[in-house]
């Protein structure tokens, strides 16, 4: 504005991007922007309930199309970046997306789409007016933003966006049970993000930057002691978010309280972001801190893997039991984090992808079961096999997928992880992974036989039919079983033809282990090389 006023010439270092940004580069940011704008629009028009559902579903479909394109582009050309406001990184906030970011975001959008279809069966007008669709889209924006951002402080902001929207969703309906769950969920998650923020303060104090690619460069020369302390703090914060042992108590206390569709959304999206952040920070940004913490991560992984299915065994509440399966999956990813080889990381990334789809589907089936039997107590559910054989198949497939039995998607990541463990002669983790599968099969099939195989309720003769079952209405079948089947078909399809997934996961693991391509995509490493050239000349 005042260019005429200042006469003296200033010598400023280059701070702005001078290359034009093509419309194709916007693929990186569009999923988040679209979700955010749609959420704002729906919040604005909360009182008009008609058309909200259709609009939200269309937006999520558009986001899925964009994310598929983005993923294909990344697989072909390597990680993609965009730095906001034309500032050069690390000054501007970057969005940097590599294979794991894009594929997790895609899985998140698919889960959101399925959940949006699923709620059509029983959503009340009151809940639409409350802002259900707006909150779901806000959560999708937060999750996609967290998977795609290339800046740690921005990651914190997306965490909070997720947290705010999840607060809104968990108390939707306002039953006493939900308030109870929300208190525990709210306090512990807020505590976790506070710890993350404290770690950010230390990172900034130590390295003077918060851009992820820049940290990956600077951390290589940073002193080991403080780095290890920061790593430990991040492990605590993200471990809490991911519900890893021993900071997992909030998850089984809260995830079964809201509407089943909300449970599915939480189970599919939220803990995965914590796991992703662990992979991103400890493997890519601070590998030396991860090495220092390796024994601890191994212990946590083993404990989570074994204790979670034991927790599931002792539950009579169906959705609480599923919550424990979810925690077991976090243990598997931690096992990958403890074995940062190509195989281990590839296994961990496929596991996250698989777990997002499977856990969400499992919660959705659980919602249908609860709707039919009118209770959340597995002892009173018996006899559903007679009423809906389709549901019994879905449930069994999902249980086997969670446990990691072939031919479902869950088998491949477990196989890769066990291969990685055998390669490193890491026998404890291998035993824990196999034991986890074993216990999960026991817990899951027991649930199945109580809910589906038994003819009647617990305490009655097995021949006596359960007379309290309500058959599903046509609407329930169309909007309940059909969307869930989409997820199950995906799980079976990728289980039978895993080549594309495994190839993608190899690229993902390579980018995690050797982040040069990731750093270069932001334009940072190139600058360093130029400086080096000048110095050597």
């Amino acid at each position: 504005m005042e260019t005429e006023i200042v006469k003296e010439t200033l010598v400023l270092p280059k701070a702005m991007i001078e290359v034009a940004t093509s419309a194709a580069d916007w693929l990186v940011i569009l999923p988040v922007v679209l979700a955010l704008l749609a959420s704002a629009l729906l919040l604005m028009l909360r009182s008009t309930t008609r058309g909200q559902a259709v609009f939200a579903i269309l937006v999520v479909m558009a986001i899925i199309v964009i994310e598929v394109q983005l993923l294909l582009k990344i697989l072909e050309l390597g990680p993609q970046s965009m730095t906001m406001g034309k500032w050069l990184p690390p000054f501007g906030i970057s969005f940097s997306v590599d294979v794991i970011g894009a594929s997790f975001a895609l899985a998140g959008a698919i889960v959101t789409l399925v959940v949006l279809l699923y709620v059509q069966a029983d959503i009340a007008k009151r809940e639409v007016k409350y802002g259900f669709y707006s909150l779901v889209l806000l959560m999708l924006a937060g999750v996609s933003g967290a998977f795609m951002t290339g800046d740690l402080f921005n990651l914190y902001v997306w965490f909070e966006v997720m947290l705010i929207s999840s607060f809104g969703l968990i108390i939707m309906g306002g039953r006493k049970l939900q308030l109870d769950g929300a208190i525990k969920y709210g306090f512990l998650n807020f505590l976790a993000t506070s710890f993350f923020l404290a770690a950010l303060g230390f990172i900034y104090g130590l390295m003077g930057t918060l851009n992820m690619a820049d940290i990956a460069i600077v951390a290589a020369d940073a002193p080991a002691g403080p780095l290890a302390a920061i790593g430990a703090l991040l492990l605590l914060a993200f471990g809490m978010k991911a519900a890893a042992f021993p900071v997992n108590a909030w998850l089984p206390a809260s995830y079964h309280t809201p509407h089943p569709a909300v449970s599915a959304l939480f189970g599919g999206l939220l803990t995965k972001v914590g796991v992703y952040a662990l992979l991103r920070t400890l493997v890519v940004l601070m590998p030396s801190a991860r090495e220092f913490l390796d024994p601890l991560i191994t212990i946590l992984a083993v404990a989570t893997l074994i204790l979670a299915p034991l927790g599931a065994l002792s539950q009579i509440n169906l959705r609480r039991a599923i919550g424990f399966f979810l925690i077991g999956g976090v243990g598997a990813v931690l096992a990958g984090l403890a074995m940062p080889s190509m195989r281990g990381l590839a296994g961990a990334s496929i596991y996250v992808f698989h777990s997002m789809l499977t856990i969400a589907a499992l919660y959705l089936v659980a919602g249908l079961i609860e709707r039919m039997s009118g209770t959340d107590d597995t002892r009173k559910m018996g006899g559903i096999y007679n009423a809906s054989s389709m549901m019994s198949i879905l449930f069994l497939v999902l249980i086997f997928a969670i446990a990691g039995l072939p031919p479902f998607l869950g088998f491949w990541p477990k196989l890769l992880l066990i291969e990685a463990g055998l390669g490193q002669a890491d026998s404890v983790l291998v035993v824990a992974l196999v034991l986890n599968s074993f216990l999960t099969v026991i817990a899951g099939t027991r649930l199945w036989s109580h809910i589906f195989w038994r003819n009647g309720r617990e305490g009655k003769n097995s021949e006596q039919l359960n007379d309290r079952l309500k058959p599903l209405s046509k609407k329930d079948k169309w909007f309940g079983i059909a969307p869930t089947s989409i997820l199950v078909v995906l799980i079976v399809w990728f289980g039978l033809f895993p080549n594309s997934v495994i190839d993608a996961s190899r690229t993902a693991a390579a980018d995690l282990l050797y982040p040069e391509r990731y750093i270069q995509s932001t334009g940072l490493a190139l600058d360093v090389e130029e400086d080096d050239l000048e110095v050597s000349q």
């Binding site: 922007v33 959420s39 406001g85």
Partner: protein, 140 residues
């Protein structure tokens, strides 16, 4: 709290605060100020009016649901970022245009639209929270 002095003065106070909040919003362009602080001032004006005149009175005066205002603010802030799509620049790049009214040179920018969005978001959310809390107290 609800004395006659307060009730008489409140409308004037609210008017002054809202005008001041807009001033702070526009000043934030090159000097301390901006949408966030402006929005806070406006929201506190609404909270004061709520204490003095009652929540239902405020809702009538606002005409629009506060959260809808926040949604609108978020929407135009996002749109301001999208404008740079046309200018071959990354998301949220500030775009400027100048034109003259009489002798004064007026600068308009996408940054200003973004800041107005922030103002509305803050105004909407904070007053929604404040009104909800005040309603709670009145209910007892």
């Amino acid at each position: 709290m609800n004395t006659i002095i307060f009730r008489t003065i409140a409308p004037f106070l609210v008017a002054i605060m809202v005008v001041f909040s807009v001033f702070v919003l526009l000043r934030g362009h090159n000097e301390p100020g901006g949408g966030f602080i402006g929005g806070l001032i406006a929201a506190s004006a609404i909270a004061i009016y709520g204490i003095a005149a009652g929540v239902s009175e405020v809702r009538k005066a606002l005409k629009i649901d506060p959260l809808a205002i926040a949604g609108f603010g978020l929407f135009i802030a996002g749109l301001a970022g999208l404008l740079s799509l046309g200018a071959e620049a990354p998301f949220l790049t500030g775009l400027w245009t100048y034109f003259e009214i009489g002798n004064a040179k007026v600068a308009l920018s996408s940054v200003l639209i973004f800041d107005i969005g922030v103002y509305l978001v803050v105004l909407g959310t904070i007053s929604a929270i404040a009104l909800a809390l005040e309603e709670n107290e009145e209910g007892e």
